[in-house]
Structures are given as structure tokens and as C-alpha cells.
């Protein structure tokens, strides 16, 4: 042992360290190692004793353990055997259980499926029903089905794919139903558009039948029916006009839309459509003034349209409201009135006019039946009445013109009683005197009188045709008819006469026209009588027709005067005075003689003429003769007049004066015609009588013998005489008394010129 090792032991153990040191450093080392060997021999003896004691027990334990080991092996084999047996037994059991579990599960599944399927089945049937309904166009039930499908059946069924498909299909179906029903509506609208004229026609016909209904006609109808074996009114056709139309599509549509919740939209749509249709209906398809058929069609269509609307007002479930109907109607009636007004104003055929009027009256009556206001139409009828009168007048203007153009204007002459009666039948004439005369008898008037009279009657007939059925009273109709007849005569006929006068008409014809107008005027009273007879009103005679043709007569008279004056002019144009005639022939110039005989001939043949006209004619003629003769004398182109020529003219004037004094026509005042020649006569007397002193003395005084001779005329004539005398005596020496005469002449001329200048200043 070394020091280092002791130190280490000291470092570890405080007890054993110092012990070792003391041993190491002291001298006891053998004592100590002997002690230690003794201690080791003691411990070995104890261990050997302990081991001898436990060895037997140990052996026994080993033996026992070996025994346990064999038992354990035995147990192990037994248990393995049991295990195998159990294993074998439970294997089939497990299979069965598994199968059972599977079967149970299938069973459950089937039950669940059936349950679900049962829920789906009604849905599917409904759906198929829906399809069939849609296909059969039974939209309303289809819609109901759809409703059921959507709200009842579909929620019940689970969220299957096909269900969602159906659900998504529902709006589409609904839309298509709506579309289809709209299409139906359109068909319906189109249909009623086609039918409404028939409806209107039927309504008009019924109104007409109703208006024409009288006891007699009813009895007759009954009889007819009895004969035909028809009892009552059970004939097949519809009884009411609206029955012509099948409204079911409309109702269906309405139902459908109410179901769809779009009732209001539908009503709006319907009204808009109908309004549009109304506009179309209101535009006539053709010219209404060509034929009655187009007017009928037009009115039928309009009427039919509103009859249907009116029907829907009561039966249309709010489809048509009173306000809407009246509103549309007032628009329509205004349009109808204006269309008719425009078109009727173009009509020139009175028959057509009458038919149109009849249609409108019927139309109005039918409207009343249906409670629709007729307002502007009565006014239209009045306007048409005026136009009708105009049209008739135009017609009759042609008739009158025709009568006048082809009239010979000769008094009607009849050969026998038959012809006589023929005239007397057509014209009211007091034939008492004529009755006595032998045939041929001559009426004072020409053929135009009965012809025009008959035509005026025709006109009145035609005119009254219009006012028939307008519900006017007899006296109002009569008054209007009188007015129109007077208008016809005083305007149309007079107009025709005036037109007649524009072309030259022979004198005799003019005379006859004047006579004829008188007879026509007198016949007006009979016309009034005729009017009151056919209108059943009292005779009104207050309306004086006296001077209805006065204007025409004045025209004719003026023409007669003009004609005579023209003839006088023609005669005077034939004058062939030799102004330097030495000796007068001793007889009147031939043109004067011709003229006067012509005039007296003409005036005799004018004896039919009213006195007034004849007086006017003869006045015009004589005045013309006097003026022309006087102008001849004072014509500046005639430079010289011999006293022979003056005497010849004087002779002619005397002839004319004789004619004038001879009262060529009755009704003249004594000496009246001579006054036309007065100034000429005074001039001639003055110059021929050479009474210058008394002329110049009396000049400017009232009532002088030559008061009508102006100094200018006297001077003019005197100049011409002087010229002629100078010419004839240019180569001869003047005798004394001739010189005196010449001197006097110059003095007188000077005086006259002075007077002229005084007058001029």
C-alpha cells in the first residue's frame, strides 16, 4: 500500500481513512493482517453452515416445479381441443346471422321504397292528366290540375330529380297554357270580328221587323207559319243577335286568367284589343258613297261590335264596364257620324241617299233598343236631309233642263178627248171654256207646264221619301216640303230658265215661257194642296208664291224687248235715204213699211203675253225706232240734208206715229207711244214749218210748242239743210226770196249757236 492510495481513501471516507493511515504509518501491519485473516476464516465457516441448511428445500422445489410443468402441458392440450370444437360449432351460426341481417335490411328497404312510390303515384297520374288536358286544350281544368300538382302533390313527394324537373316544368306549362288561351282569345276576337257584321245585320233586321210590326203583319205571320206547319217561334236559328257568337272561349280565357291571377291584365288586354278592333271597324272598307251594301256592311259591323260589347257588359263578368263601353261608344259614334257625313256628302244618287238614310234610321232605332246613345246621328240625318234636297235639286235641274231643251214652247194642242183628259189629269187647269170648244183644242200653256208640274210632284214625292220615318209631324214635313218645292221652282227651275235665256230664243217661245211661268205659279197652290194631302196636314195657303218666276219673266221680257230692238235695228240698218232727194216719193220708205208690218204682226202674235210685257215690248220697240230715226237725222256722218229728204223722213215718221197712235197693244195710256216720237216730231215740225221766231221766242219756257228741241239739235239740222241748199244752188243765181231765206237761216243759226254757248257756259 502506497501513500497515494491512502490519501484517496481519506478523501472518500473520514472513518476508514485515519484507520488506514495509522496502520500504514505504525508498525502493527502483521498484527492487523493476522486479525483480518482470522475474520475471513470465521465468515467462511458461517457461509458453509447456511448453505447446508437451504440445500434440501431447494431440491424439493425443483422437483415440484417439474411436476407443475407437466400438468401445464396437459391443460394446454385440453384447452386447444376445446377451442377447436367451439370454433367448428359457431362458424355456421355466424353465417346464418349474417344472412339474416342482410335479409332484414332488404326487407326494410323494400317497405320504404313502396311507401315513397305510393306518394309519387298520384303526382304522376296528375301530371299525365295535366298533359292530356293540355293536349285536349282543356286549359282551365289543366290549370286547376297544375295548381293541385304544384301546391299539394309536389311538396309531399321528396326532393327527387324528376320532381324538380316537374316543378321546373310548371311555370313553362303555365305559360304555354296562358299562351294557348291567348291564342284562343285571338281566335275568338277574329271570329267575332267576322261575326259582328252578321250580329249587326240580325239586330237591324229584328228592329226592322219590330218597327214594321202591326196587327195585320203579326196575323199574317201567324197564318204563314200555320200554313208552313211551324208553330210559334221554335225555328232553329238563334233568337238574339249575340247568340250568333260563341262566347265560351272568352269566358274560358277569363277564367284561366283569373286562375293565373292575371284577370286585370287580361281585361286590360281584352279592352285594348277591342278598342283596336273598334278602330278597324270604324274605318269603312270601301267607299260608302258607291253602294248601299258598303254602308250596310259598315253599320252592321259597328252595330255588331257594340251589341256584343253591350252583351258582355251584362254577361262578361266585368270584362266590359259601363264606363268603358260608353267611352268607346262615344268615340265610335263620333267617328261613325263623321265617316257617314263625309261619305254621304259625296253621294249624288237620291235612291242611294234614301237607302243610306233608311239604314241610319234603322241603326238609330236599333241603338235605342240596346240603350246606346245616338247623339250626333239625328243631326247627321238633318244635314243629310239638306244634302238630299240638294242632290234632288241637282237631279231635277237635269230633268228641267231636259224638259226645257226639248220643249217646242208651243201651246199644247189636243186632238181628241183622250189627249185632253191626259193633260187635264196631269195639270190642274180650269178647262170650263176649253171644254166647249171643238177638237183640236188648244191649251194656253205649252207642254212644259204639265211636264214641270208633274216633275215637281215627283220631286215632292222623292223629297218626302226622305222625311218618312224620321218621326217628324205631318205639318212640319209639309212645311219643309213646301219650302223645298218652292226652292226647287224658284231656284232650280228659274235657274234653268235663266240658262235658257242665255241662248237666243225665238220671240214666240219667249212669249210662251212667260205665259207658262204664270200657269206654273198659279199651280203652286195645287202643289201645296197636294203636299198637305200626302202629308196629312192642314192646307196652308198663307205662303204667297205669286212672284216666284218674276225674275225669269223679267229676263224673258227683257229678251223680248232686246229682240224687238234688235229687229228694229236690223230694219233701220237697211235704211237707204238719199239725203239729197229733191222730191219725196210720196210714200213711206220700204224698210219702214216692212218694219211696221213686221212689228204689228209680231205684236199680234204676242197677244198671249201679259199686258205688262206687251206694253214693255212695244214701248221698247217704238222708243228704239224714234231714237234711231232721230239719230239718223242728227248723225254727224250725214253732212247735208235736202228738204226733200227731210220730207221723206217726215213721211216715214208719220207712218211710225200712225202705228204708235193706233194702239198696237191694249193697256197703253192714250198717246203714250207718241211721246217717244215727240222730240223728233217737234224738230221736224220746226224745221219743216220754218217757225224759228216762235221757237226762239219760247225757248227756255215751259210748255212751248218746241220745248223738246234743243238749240244744239236745231242748229245741227239747220247746218245740214244749209249745206244741202248751198250744194244744190252753187251754180245758180239766187233769187231774192232765196237770198232772204239764206239770210234768215244764217241769223237763226247764229242765234242758236249763241244759245248753245249760253247753255254750255
Amino acid at each position: 500500500m502506497t501513500n497515494a492510495t491512502i490519501q484517496e481513501i481519506e478523501g472518500i471516507d473520514d472513518y476508514w481513512g485515519p484507520a488506514f493511515r495509522s496502520v500504514y504509518e505504525g508498525e502493527g501491519h502483521e498484527a492487523f493482517v493476522q486479525q483480518l485473516d482470522e475474520r475471513i476464516k470465521q465468515h467462511d465457516k458461517e457461509i458453509e453452515k447456511l448453505c447446508n441448511f437451504h440445500y434440501q428445500g431447494f431440491i424439493d422445489s425443483i422437483r415440484e416445479l417439474l411436476q407443475v410443468r407437466s400438468h401445464a402441458e396437459e391443460l394446454h392440450a385440453e384447452i386447444s381441443n376445446v377451442d377447436a370444437n367451439v370454433k367448428e360449432a359457431t362458424e355456421s351460426l355466424c353465417t346464418g346471422a349474417d344472412e339474416l341481417i342482410r335479409a332484414r335490411r332488404v326487407e326494410l328497404n323494400i317497405a320504404a321504397t313502396i311507401e315513397k312510390m305510393e306518394l309519387c303515384l298520384p303526382l304522376l297520374t296528375t301530371y299525365s292528366k295535366l298533359k292530356t288536358q293540355v293536349e285536349a286544350k282543356r286549359y282551365y281544368p289543366a290549370l286547376k290540375t297544375l295548381e293541385q300538382l304544384e301546391h299539394v302533390l309536389l311538396p309531399r313527394v321528396g326532393p327527387y330529380k324528376w320532381c324538380s324537373q316537374i316543378s321546373s316544368d310548371i311555370p313553362r306549362l303555365r305559360q304555354s297554357i296562358q299562351d294557348a288561351s291567348m291564342a284562343d282569345l285571338r281566335d275568338f276576337l277574329e271570329n267575332i270580328r267576322k261575326l259582328s257584321p252578321q250580329v249587326g245585320a240580325m239586330a237591324l233586321k229584328q228592329t226592322q221587323e219590330m218597327l214594321g210590326r202591326s196587327l195585320a203583319s203579326i196575323v199574317k205571320n201567324k197564318k204563314d207559319m200555320a200554313v208552313l206547319g211551324i208553330t210559334g217561334r221554335d225555328s232553329a236559328g238563334p233568337q238574339c243577335p249575340h247568340e250568333l257568337v260563341d262566347f265560351s272561349p272568352l269566358h274560358r280565357c277569363l277564367h284561366i286568367h283569373s286562375v293565373l291571377g292575371a284577370k286585370n291584365d287580361f281585361i286590360q288586354y281584352y279592352r285594348a284589343q277591342r278598342k283596336q278592333q273598334a278602330r278597324l271597324v270604324l274605318i269603312p272598307s270601301g267607299n260608302l258613297h258607291d253602294s248601299i251594301q258598303s254602308v250596310k256592311n259598315y253599320l252592321n259591323a259597328v252595330l255588331g261590335f257594340f251589341i256584343l260589347e253591350e252583351y258582355l257588359l251584362s254577361a262578361g263578368a266585368g270584362l266590359v264596364s259601363k264606363d268603358w263601353l260608353l267611352d268607346t261608344w262615344s268615340m265610335a259614334i263620333t267617328k261613325v257620324a263623321s265617316t257617314l257625313r263625309t261619305n254621304t256628302s259625296l253621294i249624288t244618287d237620291p235612291t242611294l241617299m234614301l237607302s243610306v238614310k233608311h239604314q241610319i234610321v234603322l241603326f238609330i232605332n236599333t241603338l235605342k233598343c240596346y240603350g246606346l246613345p245616338t247623339e250626333p246621328l239625328p243631326l247627321l240625318l238633318q244635314e243629310m236631309a239638306e244634302h238630299y234636297t240638294e242632290v234632288l235639286m241637282q237631279r231635277w235641274v237635269v230633268v228641267f233642263r231636259d224638259i226645257l231643251d226639248n220643249a217646242p214652247f208651243l201651246p199644247v194642242e189636243v186632238e181628241n178627248q183622250e189627249q185632253y183628259d191626259g193633260v187635264m189629269d196631269t195639270f190642274p187647269y180650269d178647262g170650263e171654256e176649253l171644254e166647249m170648244q171643238p177638237f183640236p183644242r188648244k191649251f194656253p200653256f205649252s207642254s212644259i207646264v204639265p211636264a214641270v208640274y208633274v216633275q215637281v210632284k215627283e220631286f215632292i214625292y222623292a223629297w218626302l221619301k226622305y222625311s218618312a220615318g224620321l218621326g217628324l209631324g205631318g205639318s212640319r214635313r209639309a212645311a219643309a216640303a213646301r219650302h223645298s218645292a218652292s226652292l226647287l221652282l224658284s231656284r232650280s227651275f228659274t235657274g234653268c230658265l235663266s240658262a235658257l235665256f242665255r241662248r237666243p230664243i225665238p220671240l214666240m217661245q219667249l212669249t210662251q215661257i212667260i205665259v207658262d211661268t204664270k200657269y206654273l205659279e198659279d199651280a203652286t197652290l195645287y202643289l201645296y194642296e197636294f203636299i198637305s194631302n200626302i202629308t196629312g196636314s192642314e192646307l196652308v195657303t198663307t205662303q204667297a208664291a205669286g212672284s216666284m218666276f218674276q225674275a225669269a219673266r223679267d229676263d224673258a221680257e227683257q229678251q223680248i224687248c232686246d229682240k224687238l230692238e234688235k229687229k228694229v235695228d236690223e230694219f233701220l240698218d237697211l235704211e237707204n235715204y238719199d239725203w239729197l232727194l229733191v222730191e219725196p216719193t210720196g210714200q213711206a220708205s220700204s224698210f219702214v213699211a216692212d218694219m211696221l208690218s213686221y212689228l204689228s204682226g209680231v205684236l199680234t202674235s204676242l197677244e198671249q203675253l201679259p199686258e205688262r210685257a206687251r206694253v214693255a215690248a212695244v214701248r221698247a220697240a217704238t222708243n228704239r225706232i224714234a231714237t234711231r230715226l232721230r239719230n239718223l237725222l242728227l248723225d254727224p256722218a250725214v253732212k247735208q240734208i235736202s228738204s226733200g229728204a227731210l220730207h221723206q223722213l217726215d213721211l216715214d215718221v208719220i207712218q211710225c206715229e200712225q202705228f204708235a197712235a193706233g194702239e198696237p197693244v191694249p193697256g197703253l195710256k192714250e198717246g203714250e207711244l207718241l211721246e217717244h216720237f215727240a222730240s223728233l216730231r217737234q224738230l221736224l215740225d220746226l224745221v219743216n214749218g220754218w217757225e224759228w221766231s216762235s221757237y226762239l221766242h219760247d225757248i227756255g219756257k215751259e210748255g212751248g210748242k218746241y220745248a223738246l228741241v234743243t238749240p244744239r239739235d236745231a242748229a245741227t239740222l239747220l247746218e245740214k239743210l244749209k249745206e244741202a241748199e248751198q250744194k244744190s244752188s252753187v251754180f245758180t243765181v239766187l233769187k231774192k226770196n232765196e237770198r232772204d231765206r239764206r239770210k234768215l237761216l244764217d241769223t237763226v243759226l247764229k242765234q242758236l249757236k249763241q244759245l248753245q254757248n249760253q247753255d254750255g257756259s
Binding site: 217646242p408 220671240l507 214666240m508 237707204n576 220700204s590 208690218s597 204682226g601 202674235s605
Partner: protein
């Protein structure tokens, strides 16, 4: 005052009612035609001035009513006439036959030297013709009167007829004037001398011009 004419000739149209006297005159004076028939009442006249060999000749043509009832009025005008047109209607046999009566009328009432001419009017109506042109000429030769067929409607020979008649009268008057110089200026109506009948040869040659 300047004279408007050199000669004044008074002519007369006579013949049955409806033969067309007024139409002929209307055609001659107005150069117009009116289809409608208005019978003349009494008497009327028209004046037309024509130019004949440089002379202004005024024709005063008297148109008479053909109807019997006006006979007294119309015959009064025969006396002063210098020329008379006898008119018949070629479509009316009766009117042709009556020409003889009218000639007798002239002989009784007119001056002996009056110029005459026969007109067969309405020769445009060939389909209705009853009197042939030859018969007209035959009659004219019988009486030694000029003859021409006319149509007032187609304005055929109307002018010719009046001009011929006027020319003949004028020639006669001029001859008369030469015979008795100094001649009256133009008072042709005063001519009274019994002039010998004209030779028919002269007008026959003219007629063939038709």
C-alpha cells in the same frame, strides 16, 4: 252717211212645216245647226251681207212658218219678195208633192217676176230618202226653176243656193237698171216690169256642176 250695202234683196223661204227652212236660214246666217225642231211661229227674218261680184249685197231673208194656220200672215210677205226658196224634205214625199201647191201660192201672191229656186233639203239622210234627186230635177224643169239638193245639217249647198238666187236677182236688177236709166239706186223692191222668163239652159249647165 255711207251706205252699208249696194243691193238689198228680200228673199223668202217657203215650204211645208218641218222641211228645214229655219235650219237652212240658221245655217246660212249663223253657220250653225240645231238638231231640235222648234217650229217657226208667224214670220221672222235674218239679214246677211254677202259679197257678190265686188258688190255688197244685203240679203233680208224672211223665214215663214210652214204650218197652215200661219198662212195668212206669211202670204203677206210674198209681195215684197224678190226671190223665193221653195223647200221640201227629201225624206218626206208629201212635202215634195206640196211644192206644186206652194208654186201656185207664189203665182197667186208674189210679183210675177220673182226669182224662185227649189231646195231638196235633208239630203244627208240618204237612208230615209223618199224623193230621188232626179224627181226633184224633173219637177224643177217642169216649172223652169233652178233646183239643188241641200243639207242644212252638213252645210251642203246652202251657201250655193243663196248665192245663186242672189246672183240671179242681181243680174236681173242690173239688166232692169240698164233698161231704164237713170236707174233707181237700190230700191230693188220697186222692180215691177214683166221680165221674160229666164232660159232654162243657163241653170241646167250650172246644176250639172253639183
Amino acid at each position: 252717211m255711207a251706205k252699208t250695202y249696194d243691193y238689198l234683196l228680200k228673199l223668202l223661204l217657203i215650204g211645208d212645216s218641218g222641211v228645214g227652212k229655219t235650219s237652212i236660214l240658221f245655217r246660212f246666217s249663223e253657220d250653225a245647226f240645231n238638231i231640235s225642231f222648234i217650229s217657226t211661229i208667224g214670220i221672222d227674218f235674218k239679214i246677211r251681207t254677202i259679197d257678190l261680184d265686188g258688190k255688197k249685197v244685203k240679203l233680208q231673208i224672211w223665214d215663214t212658218a210652214g204650218q197652215e194656220r200661219f198662212r195668212t200672215i206669211t202670204t203677206a210677205y210674198y209681195r215684197g219678195s224678190m226671190g223665193i226658196m221653195l223647200v221640201y224634205d227629201v225624206t218626206n214625199e208629201k212635202s215634195f208633192e206640196n211644192i206644186k201647191n206652194w208654186i201656185r201660192n207664189i203665182e197667186e201672191n208674189a210679183s210675177a217676176d220673182v226669182e224662185k229656186m227649189i231646195l231638196g233639203n235633208k239630203c244627208d239622210l240618204d237612208s230615209k230618202r223618199q224623193v230621188s234627186k232626179e224627181r226633184g230635177e224633173q219637177l224643177a224643169i217642169e216649172y223652169q226653176i233652178k233646183f239643188v239638193e241641200t243639207s242644212a245639217k252638213d252645210s251642203l249647198n246652202v251657201e250655193y243656193a243663196f248665192f245663186t238666187l242672189a246672183r240671179d236677182i242681181k243680174a236681173k236688177m242690173e239688166k232692169k237698171q240698164e233698161a231704164s236709166n237713170p236707174a233707181p239706186r237700190s230700191g230693188a223692191h220697186q222692180l215691177r216690169a214683166n221680165e221674160q222668163q229666164r232660159k232654162p239652159t243657163s241653170w241646167l249647165s250650172r246644176c250639172s256642176l253639183l
